[in-house]
Symmetry: C2
Subunit: 199 residues, 2 copies
């Protein structure tokens, strides 16, 4: 394809490459249970959650566009690094290194100024370095809980996560939003009542 | 679920309802051709395109967050109204009425102030009422062209869209961005060369 400028060609190469996020599948399912949710539609859902739930952030006056941008790009590294399940401790150890490498590869497709902007957004998100990053991370932790209550099926008792383990893993939601952490506890309790977690 | 406030309960009802956009499938495919693309991941892709391609808008100084918000919500009406293919003229006639009804239903789940904000964004997008809406519409028209060149397979000659018809349907891209319209023409020509449109 002939592009009107080298800069536009770089931008289109990036836009084409991120098509692949639609093929990174998560553990959660669509609500008809026909397939696994992918990281692109998950990111879309999070961006809309940021628009709707902004007022519940612990820190008032957040830059919501920054939250939205972080959420739109936060999972792009999975294109090269894969998705690691929150409850997989061994996988998490090497995952951080793989993701740093993946961010380097992927954002380098963009023109240098945009590569730097995207890299900075992603690093702030990973490090929970700003109130925007902390709130974005709270939404990222909340969305699968909401989805699971809608789409989950009671499993074999031996396969189920324990409610106490889920509560422990998700308590970081309180750092971005005390209100959403209270909501999350209600959602987790409702899921246990439905047989989705072991009591 | 007991929510900490009626307002939060409305917001969560909306967030749960829009799960359904992940089940509205389009004509385009994922790049591994394993399934059809859905409107949620399409909307995610568009929001990222707005972040990356903003500088190519005909109108300088656009409010890019408004463009992103429009793109994140532009297809939500399909949850109730379904997707109408761009080339289906009969379907388009009743579609506008169905979508206005769908917007009413869906945004009414939100608290009144947010319902009004979302409705206004959606109406501006549909009417191409602002430079932000016009640029958002150009991205919405461009994305499936980029995707099709990556994911399409040459079809039976009788089934293929004609290149001239595609050029006619897509020329509105120029209203939001002359640069992206020139790119789109290159993408269409490359697709014809690959046997994806009839010359
Ligand atoms: Ca669309």
């Amino acid at each position: 394809m002939s592009c009107s400028s080298a800069r536009l060609a770089q931008q289109i190469a990036f836009i084409n490459e991120i098509e692949k996020l639609k093929l990174v599948y998560r553990r959660n399912r669509t609500i008809d249970q026909s397939r696994f949710e992918n990281s692109a539609e998950h990111s879309w859902h999070l961006a809309l959650m940021a628009m709707v739930l902004a007022e519940h952030a612990n820190t008032p006056g957040l830059d919501i566009f920054t939250v939205v941008k972080m959420l739109l790009i936060h999972d792009l590294v999975e294109i090269y690094a894969g998705d690691t399940w929150l409850y997989d401790a061994a996988g998490a150890l090497v995952q951080a290194e793989k993701e740093a490498w993946a961010a380097q590869q992927l954002f380098a497709l963009l023109p240098a100024d945009q590569a730097a902007e995207f890299h900075q957004l992603w690093e702030a998100f990973v490090a929970r370095a700003t109130p925007e990053a902390t709130f974005a991370a709270s939404l990222d932790a909340l969305q699968p809980l909401l989805n699971y209550l809608l789409s989950g099926s009671p499993g074999e008792p031996g396969d189920m996560l324990a409610e106490q383990d889920v509560l422990g893993r998700k308590q970081g939601i309180a750092q971005g939003s005390q209100t959403l952490w209270e909501l999350a506890q209600d959602v987790i309790a409702a899921s246990t009542a439905r047989g989705l977690y072991a009591a």
